[in-house]
Symmetry: none
Subunit: 415 residues, 2 copies
């Protein structure tokens, strides 16, 4: 079975948005034995969209469209698809009701043109949108091919894929054909070339394959296996996973969508430990990452973003003499921040970060990217010194990554 994606939107075409939806969906299709040979992007233009859809239908069994379901005049995907496959569009009462409730819950009167979003096909079927007002739809051609119409905003697109498209595919495709499955191993604290050097031998494997991909502060290893079924594929992947972990040890912190903050929050909650943060150069980024995790309030008590020296002294109790003698960016200050946060906020573990994120503020002795971090606990205080490269935002991100990893490693050792 063959599928292809037609992404719709002038903003995509003009490069104002980077298309992350199409890659997201593409990664899921091999699990159903569905191959992809083409992807197309067109603007919000009826004739070009029609042409692109005709071409796609001529060579694929399933065509996904992404985008162009908004309430405005230039959103025309659903109407164009309906015309192409010869289906009719009517108001879907369920979607209209959902839309009215959506606006009512916000105390806003629903603009009339929004009702256009509640239109659905007569022959095809509506795919309700759990997080937005625009439902998707499955249209069917006379020869039994499908056009699956999905909304463009990623926060609506991703739940639509998980809750509507995957069940549809499971039903339609079944599990007869061979499948491709993959898993990502996430590695922190090592650069891409050290990771590659360490697992060099494994990179030559052909089934499963192992492909490294480096992002800021992390290296991802994608294991991809080809097998008759999910069980066989997972066996191949598990074995390779084991061999990689044998070589990289605890530098592998998670798999697939698991983030460093998820791992840390989960461990803290399981162990019943409370956490506080004292951030200077990361400016709240670590607290923000921790609090992105549902349930983090069970462990995370408070964070202090002590940007000024006054805040370091007044809230965290850092001694002014330390700041004068060693400076705000020093191991001594990092230690004092962590210890102060632990004492003042009455928590089990406190982590502090202080550094120079740039673009100004560097000196020959303390260059931009120099970052100290410390962790205070009942077992004493440990500290680390890092020198990071990149922009202000890069330094913030790398620092947050290193601080979360320091905490993760501490929790692994001090069980």
């Amino acid at each position: 079975m063959r599928a292809e994606i037609v992404s719709v939107g002038t903003e995509l075409l003009l490069g104002q948005i980077v298309d992350t939806n199409a890659p997201y969906l593409s990664r899921l299709l091999p699990d159903f034995g569905i191959t992809m040979h083409h992807r197309t992007t067109v603007g919000d233009n009826e004739s070009r969209l029609t042409e692109a859809l005709k071409l796609a239908l001529s060579r694929s069994d399933i065509v996904f469209t992404i985008g162009g379901l908004g309430p405005t005049q230039d959103d025309l995907t659903k109407e164009t698809v309906a015309k192409l496959v010869g289906d009719e569009m009517v108001i879907d009462e369920e979607s209209a009701r959902h839309m009215r409730e959506f606006f009512a819950a916000r105390g806003i009167e629903m603009p009339e043109n929004n009702l256009k979003q509640a239109m659905g096909p007569v022959r095809g079927k509506i795919l309700p949108n759990p997080l937005g007002t625009a439902p998707g739809a499955v249209f069917e051609t006379e020869s039994g091919k499908a056009i699956i119409v999905l909304p463009g905003p990623p926060r609506e697109f991703i739940p639509m894929v998980c809750e509507r498209v995957l069940p549809y595919l499971r039903e339609r495709v079944g599990s007869e054909s061979g499948i491709i499955r993959s898993r990502i191993l996430r590695v922190v604290g090592l650069g891409e070339s050290s990771v590659e050097d360490t697992i060099k031998r494994l990179l030559k494997s052909t089934n499963p394959t192992v492909a490294p991909y480096a992002s800021l502060g992390e290296v991802q290893l994608r294991i991809t296996a080809n097998a008759a079924n999910v069980v066989e594929a997972d066996k191949l992947i598990d074995e390779m996973d084991r061999r990689i972990v044998e070589l990289l040890g605890d530098r592998v912190f998670g798999r697939d969508g698991q983030t460093l903050e998820q791992v840390v929050v989960k461990t803290l909650v399981r162990r019943g430990l409370t956490l506080a943060l004292a951030e200077s150069c990361t400016g709240g980024l670590i607290a923000n990452r921790i609090t992105d995790i549902p349930g983090s309030s069970a462990t995370f008590m408070a964070g202090v973003v002590s940007y000024s020296n006054e805040a370091k002294m007044n809230i965290l109790g850092v001694d002014e003499r330390l700041l004068i003698e060693y400076g705000a960016v020093s191991e001594q200050t990092a230690r004092s921040m962590a210890e102060g946060a632990r004492r003042k906020l009455g928590v089990d573990v406190a982590v502090s970060v202080t550094g120079i994120a740039g673009p100004a503020g560097g000196t020959p002795e303390k260059p931009i990217g120099l970052v100290y971090m410390a962790l205070a606990s009942g077992a004493g205080t440990i500290a680390q010194r890092h020198q990071f490269a990149g922009t202000r935002v890069d330094v913030k991100l790398r620092s947050s990554q290193a601080a979360l990893d320091m905490l993760r490693t501490f929790l692994a050792v001090n069980t």
Copy 2:
């Protein structure tokens, strides 16, 4: 003049890489009066690449290919293009020398198959690659159309575009043809349909055009003008900008890359005001956004992420009776947090946010997404109540957006 992009690579097709190159190039083309109507992605497959190129050449004057210039057997873009346009490939001595030097400088013996990368067209011309071993090339068809072949890794692609493609386009397109320029007006505090309703009349304009785009907590209006030169285009854009601002007033907070946090930090610094934050449900996100801005340390003194009630009482001095009587998520607590932060941290302005980000913790009286925020200053304390939709991370983002906008509006009024 029309152009289109064919991105080549199985990793792109499988979604293992997100294509940021095509959007990058797309953003630069309108300045040359070049329009884009299509973008295509195909895998490393000769026949499908040939088909995609034929189709692209049938409707465009310039076709860019990105990717597939590596040394391995599945990298076949250059060879495929040469065959299609009937050009011959020979070793380009300059590129071969550059490649030998590249390997010599790293003390590595050059693998023989790398020499394939130094092949270039006889009729067309080589585009030397300043940062990699694979040069690009311009191939020309008999009818005078061009296929511009570029490498896929972004760190090679971007310099190639800047140093090779832009000069080529400047020469080829010249300045006879008209140009297209655009500007984005950024709007906060109004939904997409209210914005559209308000400026309905202007959406019908054909030159410049106005196109709305909604993202989380913000609506963007792209004004695009077509004119003989930059001065004329900017005149059209300025006039439309003025008319939009006439209708939307101070809901327009910035233009193009300007963010809400940039506007806020700039105003605070100019006015010599100091800022503190007391965040509960936003969990450090506002502090993180503020500290992403270089120079924010001149105004931002400290932030407190008071996730627990203890932190609200101990650091911010919120009265326990308030928390008991009205709850942590209440206007009273929001006010007390802002006033406490202002007093305890000794700043001019303090902003607080407290709410229920979900996914758990909602009740019928205080549902998920209910957020209170307050701003304390020498002029007194103001508060706002919001009801936001979406996931935990959505509620955090929308709350941070509303809080920054409250601060921006306060600064605009209290001059």
